[in-house]
Structures are given as structure tokens and as C-alpha cells.
């Protein structure tokens, strides 16, 4: 994907800043990677728990609202940490990252996962009172659960592929 020059200029300015280079060349980098792993476990793990419940695969004896209420603080807490650690990790090579196709795909998949979550809350969640304890939620909820699982697994895979992919 061709990016506007303002964006690539900004990215290289970020990567040349003192703080970004300090992080990239010190013990802070593996520390950020470690934080990133733990936060992604929290995000993916709690999202998968709710998605499996929506699909009727697991936690069938838990109401959907109970499960999501207990999972959500971990999901959001983990997400904030993952974004922060990810942003600081990429800063030192920001220019390379934003032109890396796997990194671009990862951002796109994150956006789609967010849209899917918004659609889930706008459509099937409105009637959750009627299917909260049902093993098989409505089709719209099951589709959202399946899409969510697929998109988040895609986010992980795209993230892993960044190191094996070269930018333009």
C-alpha cells in the first residue's frame, strides 16, 4: 500500500527521536515484548472465552452476560497494555513497520475486529436478555463470535509474520 509522504515522514521522525532509539537499544525492548505477550494472552484468552460461549462450544452453564462482565475488564486492561507496549516497541523502527505489509494487515484486522464488536453490541446484544442463558444464541451473535475468533487469530498471525516480511 502506498502511504502519504506526511505519514512516512512522521514515522521516520519518530524512529529517529532519542527516546525511540533508547528503547530500541536497551533492556526496555525485551521488557516491552514480555508485557506485550502477557497482555495479548489476556486479550485473546478472554475474547476466546466469550466467543466460545457465543458459539455454544463451552461455558454453556454460564449466562453470557455473567461471562462477559467478568471477562471485559481483563480484555480492556490487556488491550490498553498491548497497544501501549506495541506502540513503544515499533517506535524505534516506525518507518519500516508502517510500510511492512504484515503490519498493515495486522492494523486492518484490528480495525475489523473492532467493527465486528461494535456490530455485535448494536444488533444481537440488544436482545441479550432473551438468550442470555441459552446454549445456542441467535445466528447474529454466533456469527459475531466466529468472526471475532477468526479476526483475533489473524491479528496474532499477522503480528508474527511482521519479522518475516519485508516492506516496500
Amino acid at each position: 500500500m502506498t502511504l502519504p509522504p506526511t505519514l512516512t515522514d512522521w514515522a521516520s521522525a519518530v524512529s529517529q527521536s532519542d527516546w525511540a532509539q533508547t528503547i530500541a537499544g536497551s533492556w526496555m525492548f525485551p521488557l516491552l515484548e514480555t508485557v506485550h505477550v502477557f497482555s495479548l494472552v489476556a486479550v485473546l484468552g478472554t475474547i476466546a472465552l466469550v466467543d466460545w460461549r457465543l458459539l455454544g462450544f463451552a461455558s454453556r452453564d454460564y449466562p453470557v452476560t455473567t461471562l462477559s462482565r467478568q471477562a471485559l475488564p481483563w480484555t480492556w486492561g490487556g488491550f490498553v497494555l498491548a497497544v501501549a507496549s506495541g506502540a513503544l516497541m515499533t517506535a524505534g523502527q516506525a518507518g519500516e513497520y508502517i510500510t511492512n505489509p504484515a503490519f498493515q494487515l495486522k492494523l486492518l484486522l484490528l480495525l475489523l475486529a473492532g467493527l465486528n464488536m461494535a456490530a455485535f453490541h448494536l444488533i444481537p446484544w440488544k436482545t441479550v436478555g432473551a438468550w442470555d442463558t441459552r446454549v445456542g444464541p441467535p445466528v447474529a451473535a454466533r456469527v459475531a463470535g466466529a468472526l471475532s475468533l477468526a479476526l483475533w487469530i489473524g491479528v496474532i498471525a499477522a503480528g508474527r509474520w511482521i519479522a518475516f516480511t519485508h516492506g516496500a
Partner: protein, 185 residues
């Protein structure tokens, strides 16, 4: 003159625990047909390494979350309104399956460069933590297999289950941390 910046990554005189104890094992492993096969497969197939790492992360998430849910329940932090037995019967198979995937996907990477891994203290410590955590999980499994209420029947067992749970959580988390630092130490 001592160079500035990051300290040297390893002691060239070979005084680290891993080098003196396990380096020969890594060297021998590197001569085995299995190691040759792993190197050949990773070299021939460019997408095998990222796919392997992706599966490793997915399995790591499964193991960590299934173990955390069970251990936090044993500690009484979550889900106290439900019995622990049925929860263990659902979660332990997930933990074991994820462990198999972790050993296979991690094994491929180790077989690719065994000399490098067995010379790393972080890797050796990680494997030590994994062995201890797995041993604890076997103990836990043994009890639940005898009786779903096994770990709640006596005060002694309850205390053991709780202390084991707390230690095991630290062991698994430590294994994740060491895994991430192998590339740096």
C-alpha cells in the same frame, strides 16, 4: 578497555550454567537426523517458521488461560459459587492439549538450532520452570482423577492445592518471561 553500552551477551570462557552443563547435549542434538530434518523443513518452507510461532502463541494463550482459571478458582479468587471438580474436568484437558502443541512447535525451533538454545541460561531456566509446573499439574490431575472432590476433602489437601496453585501460576508466568528473554541473554 571496557566497551560502553549493553553488556556482552555471553561469557566467551563458558562459565554460565547452561554452557558448562547442557551445551554438549545441544551439540549432540544438532547431529541427529531429527535436527537435520527440522533445519531442512524450515529452510525449504519460508512460512513454516511464522506459522510455528503463531501456533506456539495460540497454544501458550490456551495453556496460560486454562491454568490461570483453574488455579485462581483453587485459590478462591474467582468462581467460588461453583464446585472446582467439574471446572477441572473441563480445563485440565485444555491445559494438556496446549502443552503438547507447545512442545511440538517449540521443539521445531529448538531442533533448528539446538546448540544455541542449550547454551542459553534463559532457555535452561525456562525448561526447568516448565518441568516443575508440569509436575504440579500431574499431581493436580492425579487427585482430580481419583475423585472430583479430592482437593477439597481434607484441610491438608486444601492447603496443598492452594499453595501449589500460587506457585504454579508463578512458574508458568516465569516460563513465559524466560522464553521472551532467550533472544537477549
Amino acid at each position: 578497555m571496557t566497551p560502553v553500552g549493553r553488556p556482552p551477551q555471553s561469557d566467551p570462557l563458558g562459565r554460565t550454567m547452561a554452557i558448562t552443563t547442557f551445551a554438549p547435549l545441544g551439540q549432540w542434538l544438532g547431529t541427529t537426523p531429527l535436527s537435520h530434518a527440522a533445519r531442512g523443513a524450515l529452510r525449504a518452507t519460508s512460512w513454516l517458521a511464522p506459522l510455528d510461532e503463531t501456533l506456539h502463541i495460540l497454544a501458550l494463550t490456551t495453556l496460560f488461560v486454562s491454568a490461570a482459571l483453574l488455579h485462581l478458582r483453587l485459590l478462591g479468587v474467582v468462581g467460588k459459587d461453583r464446585p472446582v471438580g467439574p471446572l477441572a474436568r473441563r480445563l485440565l484437558p485444555l491445559t494438556w492439549s496446549a502443552l503438547v502443541v507447545l512442545l511440538l512447535t517449540g521443539g521445531l525451533l529448538v531442533l533448528n538450532r539446538p546448540g544455541r538454545y542449550f547454551r542459553s541460561d534463559m532457555f535452561v531456566i525456562k525448561m526447568g520452570l516448565v518441568i516443575l509446573a508440569v509436575a504440579w499439574t500431574l499431581v493436580l490431575q492425579f487427585g482430580f482423577s481419583r475423585d472430583t472432590g479430592y482437593w477439597e476433602q481434607t484441610t491438608g489437601r486444601r492447603v496443598l492445592a492452594k499453595s501449589g496453585a500460587a506457585v504454579a501460576l508463578v512458574l508458568w508466568a516465569g516460563a513465559v518471561v524466560c522464553g521472551r528473554w532467550i533472544a537477549y541473554a
